[in-house]
Symmetry: C2
Subunit: 271 residues, 2 copies
């Protein structure tokens, strides 16, 4: 199932700037019972992203389109790609450019239940994230770093890969964000140099605060990760996965990880 | 005029990884009298790029396709986009992925003749290039930095913009490479941290050597640029443009710049 600019279509113009330059953004939205989950957070991030890239986005129209697509999809994943639309050759933004929306439907991912229950092993990716403050935090379409990092391992024993920045700081997973617990305190990497500010990361920060758990958003050295009492990953499709292994280090799923997992299950049941 | 996988087509699949992640490369080739210019250099760069990204590229078939497209185009610009092809959602490279070729024809760019004769003014872009050795030098499809940099100025008095890296080193123009002359010696920035290794840059290095002019490929600080005797830009479409202004600094087109411009004109006449 795919829509382009609100209508079923299998393809888009070869002149689209999304193809030419990765000039656009995307969102990966879990849809349950015909309703997009964490929808307000996805819309908020889209709005922020469009503003930072100078994309003229009609948010109410876009919101209606995603809702209609979700209703048609029923259950699964709705991926929205929003590009700067068509343009002639050259980086200059066309005066008359109109953003293009692409919506792609796919089944809900079939992750093993053990990932959430027992936790996952993280592959330590050699590919580092470049530091680019103007793009940091955005879920933009320039994703070659993630492609290269994901290509570093084939062994299904690793459910995710850890990505660091050029200075070795812990940033995120290839397709998820990361949290640490140390002495009962939650922290997650600051994302002002690189990384994607995930909607589930934002949701977890909010839920932790409601549970009176402060979350420090800060630089995290690799050594701090290795000294953590608990480590977990999150994204909008799988929720929370405890991390049980990274290189020779082992963790068990700890009490804060379980508490937050439970909280998400509750919320998802209520939604 | 546009071809997808060797056949005329106006669009491509919404599932293409070029759109999803910028997972691919491109080349912008000047076509004169039905023949692609600097063709061996373009093919060489494609081959290098495909190897570094792990793209399985059938170079002889691709070469034949570009030649056929150029013959049909006659005169103008052939832009080749090569992507990793279609894939399901997710960064992992599909086992069965087949690279996709997109060829786009456009008229030769109508740059003012004064750019080459009197030289151009450079806009000093605030957008810096992130340092990513794994992608440095490649003409890949992740070009948001160039889009943001090009959007910094609208004034047509600036024909190009200067881009620096995060440490302030001179790297390149938004759509060109840069050379300096100081005390009769040519230099151009090293591109192992960021930047695009242009085919015209490679051609100029080669031509300079044939003229017994050594070219230093090295880190270049902003101050070194400002102290240069001559500065020029190059790319495969416009050849060489002397730089006459950057902020309050002024240069005239010097003897080495003119010599190399003359050499390129000779070669282009002979091709």
């Amino acid at each position: 199932m795919s829509w382009v600019d609100g209508k079923p279509a299998p393809g888009l113009s070869v002149h689209d700037r999304g193809l030419a330059y990765g000039d656009g953004l995307f969102e990966t939205i879990r849809v349950r019972s015909a309703r997009p989950q964490l929808f307000e957070r996805h819309l908020q991030r889209l709005q922020d992203g469009c503003q930072r890239l100078g994309l003229a986005c009609d948010l109410p129209a876009l919101s209606a389109e995603i809702l209609a697509f979700s209703a048609a999809l029923g259950d699964g994943v709705a991926k929205l790609v929003i590009t700067r639309g068509e343009g002639e050759r050259g980086y200059a933004i066309p005066r008359a450019s109109a953003p293009r929306r692409v919506l792609l439907g796919s089944p809900a991912p079939a992750y093993p239940i053990e990932n959430a229950e027992q936790g996952v092993h993280l592959f330590a990716c050699a590919t580092r994230l470049a530091e680019q403050p103007r793009l940091a935090g955005l879920k933009h379409l320039n994703r070659l770093e993630q492609v290269l990092a994901r290509a570093e391992w084939q062994d299904p024993a690793f459910a995710e890969g850890l990505m660091r920045d050029m200075s070795g700081r812990v940033v995120e997973g290839v397709f998820s964000n990361i949290f640490l617990v140390r002495d009962g305190r939650l922290s997650t990497p600051a994302l002002h140099r690189c990384g994607v500010a995930g909607v589930m990361r934002a949701e977890i920060i909010e839920q932790a605060r409601q549970l009176q758990l402060a979350v420090q958003v800060q630089d995290i050295a690799f050594e701090q990760l290795l000294c953590a009492d608990e480590v977990f990953l999150c994204n909008s499709l799988f929720g929370i996965w405890p991390v049980r292994g990274l290189m020779e280090h082992r963790w068990s799923a700890g009490p804060l990880t379980r508490k937050l997992q439970g909280r998400l299950v509750e919320l998802s049941g209520n939604s």
